[in-house]
């Protein structure tokens, strides 16, 4: 059983084909890196996997469960979480409340208009644990507006981790971080247990290559090279379209 399988994923916007015939096989527990130049279709691929956009053709399977017709919101309940390249947190809320919203998304309690959210100790506790995992517990009650960019990136990850996903999609988690912050995020990702499968898009090769076990190189919407870290780095096509630029 694979954690994530995609078969023949295609998506066009008007005349522009953003992904073509993307086939992925990610094993459970694997750390997969997806690289490629800007506009290669990486983020579109993520959006197809989590259902934010519908493919024109092709299928997505999560742990043998066919997802293609499953609405985006249900996929979160099936163990699929993601972070965003452009930060999309809840700016008026505190860090704690951001993570609580993430937990609430999978909790039946989210429909309840009669109880107080503040009184839900178990949610607050889980949220604090998630913040602790990313080293931000001390900022739990700070409003999102008063945090740094690097902290926000980590809150993104905390929100995804809080949902206890089986498959975690990370869209450029290192983008815009300082060297110190990169080190922190790297440690944090390394500490994620193996029962979470991770697929990551990243531009920053130093940190990303170290993290990845298998790498898929995308170019013009296609996966052109795929293999282990050593294989991909050695492949001349990779150098040509990505590393050499």
């Amino acid at each position: 059983m694979s954690a994530l399988v995609s078969r023949g994923l295609e998506k066009s916007f008007d005349a522009l084909r953003v992904t073509r015939d993307v086939n992925l096989d990610v094993e459970p527990g694997e750390r997969r890196l997806i690289i490629g130049p800007n506009g290669a279709g990486k983020t579109t691929l993520f959006n197809l996997i989590c259902g934010e956009i519908r493919p024109d053709r092709g299928s997505v399977t999560l742990f043998d469960r066919e997802l293609t017709r499953v609405p985006s919101r249900r996929r979160a309940h099936l163990g699929l979480s993601r972070t965003y390249q452009i930060i999309t947190l809840f700016p008026r809320d505190t860090l704690l409340r951001n993570v609580m919203l993430s937990l609430l998304g999978l909790d039946r309690l989210r429909w309840s208009p009669f109880v107080s959210l503040g009184a839900q100790r178990h949610l607050a506790e889980s949220a604090r644990r998630a913040l602790d995992r990313v080293g931000l517990l001390h900022l739990a009650d700070r409003p999102m507006a008063h945090t740094s960019y690097g902290e926000r990136r980590r809150v993104e990850i905390a929100m995804a981790l809080a949902q206890n996903p089986k498959l975690l999609l990370l869209d450029e988690p290192f983008a815009g971080l300082s060297i110190d912050e990169r080190g922190d995020v790297q440690k944090l990702l390394n500490a994620i247990p193996r029962d979470v499968t991770i697929v990551m898009i990243e531009h920053n090769m130093d940190v990303a290559l170290e993290f990845a076990e298998r790498i898929s190189v995308m170019h013009f919407g296609e996966v052109v090279v795929e293999g282990t870290r050593a294989e991909v780095v050695a492949n001349p096509r990779t150098k040509e379209i990505y590393l050499g630029e």
Partner: protein, 325 residues
């Protein structure tokens, strides 16, 4: 915190004793009007404040409740039955209203609710067989729950006050509930909310229903207060007045719509008594508030007070997020 509780208790005492300290029946009636519109504004605020969806058609929902009660009574139903029919029909109407208008959000929502409000107004105006058209329908008597007649201004005031307090309580519970948080999340980051596993459409739909329920309750109070209903109450002006109450007071706050309702109702009464230019005033205030105080009067004042306290105390007051919630 104690200051807040003290304020609440004082406000409750003042409201409970209001008929005693108001100079006359007219003022008691204006107070009832304020409370009725406050309930209506609370309903609009569910969507505009917490859901980020500004409706310009809610007077239609309010009107459905009014007409349903008036028509039921005219058909010989008792008060309880009429009220229940009123609520049921309003909820049904709201469901259709929501299903259509939630095809879009933002400006699209605003536009479609406006059109739907106009349809309901048009029905009230033209469907003479049921609504008696422009002449409106009268309601012969007010109910007497548990043998307590509401015919006097004071008695009706207390019934309205009780309903109002229940409405505020419901709103307070709702705003702090997980569902309230979910709704606010769909306002700020709908895409993110979907990815987190929320059914954004359904959340908005339920919010519409809650909003419609409060509007319907306000409508029922209104039709019994006036003992008359005409298409005027369903007009775009009527919808806009309530939206103005909410944005004047401050969207997404508990007190904002209540303060806004008081402000607009008092101004409307004063304006129609002295200057007859209510529509101009309404429009001018609308423009002024949107341009100069978009956050509304309540958050604006809270901000000023905080600032003043901080300056006086000479030390930092913890920055809580409650002012904007």
């Amino acid at each position: 915190m104690t200051g807040r509780w003290l304020g609440l208790v004082l406000a409750l005492v003042a409201l409970a004793a209001l008929p005693a300290w108001m100079p006359g029946t007219y003022y008691v009636n204006v107070s009832s009007q304020i409370l009725i519109y406050a309930v209506f504004a609370l309903g609009i605020n569910v969507l505009a404040g917490y859901g980020g969806l500004v409706s310009l058609g809610h007077a239609g929902l309010f009107g459905i409740a009014c007409y349903a009660v008036a028509v039921s009574l005219a058909a010989g139903a008792g008060h309880l039955a009429a009220i229940l029919v009123g609520l049921a029909v309003t909820l049904l109407g709201t469901a259709v209203f929501a299903a259509l208008s939630l095809r879009t959000t933002g400006i699209g929502f605003l536009m479609i609710t406006l059109a739907l409000g106009q349809i309901l107004w048009g029905l009230a105006y033209r469907w003479i067989g049921v609504t008696n058209g422009d002449n409106g329908l009268t309601v012969a008597s007010r109910p007497a729950p548990f043998g307590f007649s509401l015919e006097t201004a004071t008695a009706f005031y207390y019934a309205t006050l009780l309903t109002f307090l229940l409405g505020v309580l419901a709103m307070a519970v709702f705003a702090n509930s997980p569902f309230g948080a979910s709704l606010a999340g769909t306002r700020d980051q709908p895409r993110r909310m979907t990815a987190l596993g929320y059914n954004v459409w359904m959340i908005r739909f339920y919010a519409c229903m809650f909003s419609g329920l409060l509007s319907g309750i306000a409508g029922i109070l209104f039709v019994y207060y006036n003992q008359f209903i005409s298409p005027q109450s369903l007009s775009l002006t009527a919808s806009a007045e309530v939206v103005l109450m909410v944005i004047a007071g401050g969207t997404g706050t508990l007190m904002g719509p209540i303060v806004g309702a008081a402000l607009v109702v008092v101004m409307k009464n004063v304006a129609s008594a002295y200057i007859e230019r209510w529509n101009f005033l309404l429009g001018a205030i609308f423009v002024a508030i949107v341009i100069f105080m978009p956050e509304g009067l309540v958050p604006g004042t809270v901000r000023l007070l905080r600032w003043a306290m901080r300056s006086l105390a000479g030390k930092a007051v913890p920055a809580g997020g409650d002012g904007g919630r």
